[in-house]
Amino acid sequence: MKKVKKYGALFLAFVMAAVSLSACGSSNKESTTAATSAATTAAASETTAADTSADPSEAVEDFSGQTLVVANWKGYGSDAEYGAKAFEEKYGCKVEHQYFTSLEEMITMLKQGGQGKIDVVLPNSTYVKVMTDQDLLEPIDTSKLSTFADLREDLRDFSDSVIDGQYYAIPWTWGTTSLGYNPEAFSEPITSWSALWDSANKGKVGMFDEFDSAILTAGIYTGQEDLWNPNLDEIKTALLELKANTRTFWASYDDFLKPYMSGEITLGNMWAGTASQLLSSGEPVEYIYPEEGTIAWCDFWGIAKDAPNYDLALKWIEFMTDDEFQYAFATDENAHNPVNTAVEASLTDDQKKILWMYPEGPSKIYMQKYMPEETRSQWLELWNEVKAN
């Protein structure tokens, strides 16, 4: 028995050593094969790039040897085949991704050693000002972006991304938080936010438990002049009335689906993605943009301060907003709204329906933007007061 144990232990140790050594070995091999394949694709793309570039008079610049560092969410378009890979082939460079799991993390990434290493970042519309205030973004030379004129104006000229005529962020994709309802429960289609406040819908509303969209929605409904500086008393009264109609607050998709399926709630505010998920679960749903206006969010590309590859970063932004990428992004299985107006127009009716852009998108959008901490605390306090009432 002792001998079995002794040899058994020796064998185990040998196996573990062998495994760890082989792992070292294979990773070395992997990097060398990667380097050689990169070199060959770079060489290949050099010759093909000139041939495949859309504008023959403008040769595609060769960025071989450069590595673009992109900071983004994992699995969000830029690391797809039609994203980073296509870009690498087009410009002969390499693309490296650094992923974050929250916007706070993105900022920490930059402040703790990322500056000078990271080239492009993806802030949300609420974080652009946070970044510009902390001097984390470079101004973007929009004259070099061929897609600049194709961008949706209301997104492109977002107030927080333009400072003194300089653009610090370029829109990439966007979405809305709007009204969804069960068409089978209503005889007439809904067109206005007032449906949520209608006493006929008492106890049938499912509200999103997020204080800023709740207060912004109440602001749109009560017709506030400045949604981000509303009359808080009017908002509170409106929200209390809304609460009387509300059956439950939802925080995640499942919270909404359950009572919706059993018919306990028939309308509420939601993201376009939620409506798509409901549809794919077999539930009838209509997602509309009320006439008073819709709240929207947008993800922007920005060039980080002291980016090592500024010109390549500009090419990246151009690539991310051009027809090819935006079309692929809008028609892949998780359809994302394009910001490129040419792509928007080229979508078929069915594709537009999937994006809830049929017959057309929202006419009036209120883009969620930066809110100072005191305002956020104030609004949360108001929301908690309403909920606790």
Binding site: A244, T246, T248, F249, S262, G263, E381, N384, E385
Partner: protein, 291 residues
């Protein structure tokens, strides 16, 4: 001299647990109290903006916290009461009525909910209670209620779910102390002429007080601070104080205010536990139990 010797002999063995207790219990508590005096959130580099008592002023300048605290304590006490009423017969049954060989199986059955995640338990309850679900269809068929409505998304639903989640704690605590009631004591009390009720009050109850107290602590404190259940099944009027504290930490990142709320919550609950303990000790003495 003796004392010194004993200390030398085994005193240092206490160090690991003492260190554990210090780092995982006392230090975080001290940090909580310290953080309740800072303004806003800690900076990303750990810096503190300012020291202030504003957080406490803010807490009591509106009725939100006090209202929610009162409501949460009320719900917690209700849940505890229902748990006590349901758990006593169950614990007594497991401890005394079932044959000794079945006892372990019974205890296992009582612990089964612990094997499942808390969220799953809540969803299971929701499935049963929801409109068109098990309960409502049954009531609809019996003609007692409309099956398209439901009790979900209201405070009773929160109470039901909390009782379902915390009943095993109460059963186990009571079981552990009811098991120690000697059968001879009960026979003796019967022999001396006490009926079943009097036996219960004067013999069984006092012996079970330690278990009762720990059961109350295990059920009351989490119930008062719960925020997942009110969020999922409480409906629009179901908010409890836990959601308020949670929103400070996860939505606005206002650590100062959140810590202040937690600190006051801690004090209030300690007071409640102190009152409950004093009352049970008084009751214990008056019934004539072992002090």
């Amino acid at each position: 001299m003796n004392f010194k010797y004993h200390f030398k002999k085994g005193g240092f063995l206490v160090l690991p647990s003492a260190a554990f207790f210090l780092c995982l219990s006392l230090l975080p508590l001290a940090m909580l109290v310290a953080f309740s005096f800072i303004k806003g959130n800690l900076g990303s580099d750990g810096s503190i903006a300012a020291w202030t008592v504003d957080n406490f002023v803010r807490m009591f300048s509106s009725w939100t916290f006090s209202k929610l605290m009162l409501k949460s304590v009320g719900i917690g006490l209700l849940v505890t009461l229902i748990c006590i009423i349901l758990a006593y017969p169950a614990a007594w049954g497991v401890a005394k009525i079932f044959k000794a060989k079945n006892r372990n199986t019974m205890v296992m059955l009582a612990i089964v909910p612990f094997f499942t995640s808390q969220l799953l338990l809540i969803y299971a309850m929701m499935l049963i209670l929801q409109s068109g679900g098990l309960l409502m269809t049954l009531l609809g068929n019996l003609g007692l209620a409309d099956s398209s409505g439901s009790i979900l998304y209201s405070t009773p639903a929160v109470v039901i779910v909390l009782v379902y989640e915390y009943l095993p704690y109460m059963i186990l605590s009571l079981y552990s102390s009811l098991e120690s009631v000697e059968d001879n004591l009960i026979y003796a009390s019967h022999t001396l002429g006490a009926g079943r009720f009097k036996t219960f009050i004067n013999v069984v109850l006092p012996v079970s007080f330690p278990g009762l107290l720990s059961g109350i602590m295990l059920v009351l404190i989490p119930s008062v601070g719960s925020f997942v259940e009110p969020g999922l099944v409480g409906g629009s009027d179901g908010m409890m104080v836990g959601s308020l504290i949670n929103s400070q930490f996860s939505t606005v990142l206002d650590m100062g205010y959140g810590s202040a709320l937690s600190f006051v919550f801690l004090i209030i609950l300690s007071l409640i536990m102190f009152i409950i303990r004093t009352l049970t000790n008084r009751a214990n003495k008056s019934i004539g139990g072992i002090a």
